[in-house]
C-alpha cells in the first residue's frame, strides 16, 4: 500500500509497526495513492 504525506508530499509506505505517521516529517495525515491498475467502470 503506498501513501503520500500531505505535508512534505513524499512517498510513504506503512509497515504496521510505526503507526500512521510520516517517517520524514512526522506528519500524521497521509493520502492514499491511486492504484496503478486499470479500473473498469460500467456506464449507467
Amino acid at each position: 500500500m503506498s501513501y503520500k504525506c500531505s505535508r512534505c508530499k513524499r512517498d510513504v509506505s506503512l509497515d504496521g509497526y510505526g503507526g500512521v505517521r510520516c517517517p520524514y516529517c512526522g506528519h500524521r495525515v497521509l493520502l492514499k495513492e491511486r492504484s496503478q491498475d486499470v479500473k473498469t467502470v460500467p456506464v449507467q
Binding site: 491511486r34 486499470v38 479500473k39 473498469t40 467502470v41 460500467p42 456506464v43 449507467q44
Partner: protein, 248 residues
C-alpha cells in the same frame, strides 16, 4: 388503415424535421413515435477502462459523461453484440472534448465535437479506453436516437362568417400545422394565433382524420429520415414476429 400513406415534408434540416403523414391511424402514429424513442438502436459508450485519471472528477462521473456523447451510427452495419473501441488521452492544462475521442472504426465518430468532457489543470491527465455497444432507448436513455419526438393532428381551418364589428376578440391559439384549402401553413407564421391571420372572420377548426404532423429531432447519431424509416422497420418486424407466433 389505408393501404397507402404519404409523407410530405414541411420543414427539413439535418437533425430536425417536421412532416405530414396521411393515411395512418392514431394508434399507428403513436406506435411510430414510441418506436423512434425506444426501439431504434444507436451506439453509445457502455464500459470505460481508466488507465489514468488525475482530474477533479471521479471515474464514474467521467464514464457517465462519455456515455451521453452521441456516436454516429451507420445503418445495418452493426449487430446488437458488436463492440467498437474508442480511446481518449489528454494531458493538462487542457480541456478534453468529445472531439478528442479516437475511434477504432471510421464509421463511428462522436456526432458532436465540442462537448467538454473534463477540464484538466496543470499536471492532470486523463487516459482511457471505452467500449461502445449497440442498444435501444428502452435500455438506457443514452441509446435514444430520437429527442423530442411528437405528433399533432393536422387541423383544417375554414372561415364561417364575419366577426361582429364590436365583438371582444379572444386569442385562438393553435400550435402545429393548419390546412387552408389545399395549402399547409405552419402556425409559427402567424404567432400561433388564428385571430392574427383572420382578424375579421369567424373560423371553424377541426382535426383532419388520419393526418398527423410529426416533429422529430435526433441526437445526431442518424438523420431524421433514417430514424423514421428504422422505427417503421422495427414496428414491421415486431408485427411479423407476432403473426409468426400466433399462426399455427
Amino acid at each position: 388503415m389505408d393501404e397507402e400513406y404519404d409523407v410530405e415534408f414541411i420543414e427539413r434540416e439535418e437533425r430536425s424535421a417536421k412532416f405530414l403523414v396521411r393515411g395512418v391511424t392514431p394508434a399507428f402514429a403513436n406506435g411510430i413515435r414510441r418506436a423512434m424513442i425506444a426501439d431504434v438502436p444507436t451506439l453509445a459508450i457502455d464500459e470505460v477502462r481508466f488507465i489514468e485519471n488525475s482530474s477533479v472528477m471521479f471515474d464514474e462521473q467521467i464514464a457517465l459523461r462519455l456515455g451521453l456523447v452521441p456516436l454516429s451510427t451507420p445503418p445495418n452495419e452493426f449487430d446488437e453484440d458488436d463492440v467498437v473501441t474508442l480511446s481518449l488521452d489528454v494531458s493538462g492544462p487542457a480541456t478534453a472534448y468529445s472531439g478528442d475521442i479516437v475511434s477504432s472504426d471510421e464509421m463511428v465518430q462522436p456526432a458532436e465535437e465540442n462537448v467538454p468532457i473534463i477540464d484538466l489543470k496543470d499536471g492532470q491527465r486523463l487516459e482511457l479506453e471505452a467500449d461502445a455497444v449497440l442498444s435501444t432507448g428502452k435500455d438506457h436513455a443514452k441509446h435514444q436516437g430520437g429527442v423530442s419526438v411528437g405528433y399533432r393532428h393536422l387541423q383544417r381551418v375554414e372561415t364561417v362568417g364575419d366577426r361582429g364589428e364590436f365583438e371582444d376578440v379572444d386569442p385562438e391559439i393553435y400550435r402545429g400545422v393548419i390546412q387552408e384549402g389545399d395549402e399547409l401553413v405552419d402556425t409559427e407564421e402567424f404567432d400561433h394565433d388564428l385571430t392574427n391571420r383572420y382578424p375579421d372572420q369567424e373560423v371553424a377548426v377541426e382535426d383532419v382524420e388520419h393526418a398527423f404532423v410529426f416533429s422529430v429531432e435526433t441526437d445526431g447519431s442518424m438523420s431524421v429520415e433514417e430514424l423514421f424509416t428504422r422505427a417503421v422497420e422495427s414496428l414491421d418486424a415486431r408485427a411479423a414476429e407476432l403473426e409468426d407466433a400466433v399462426s399455427l
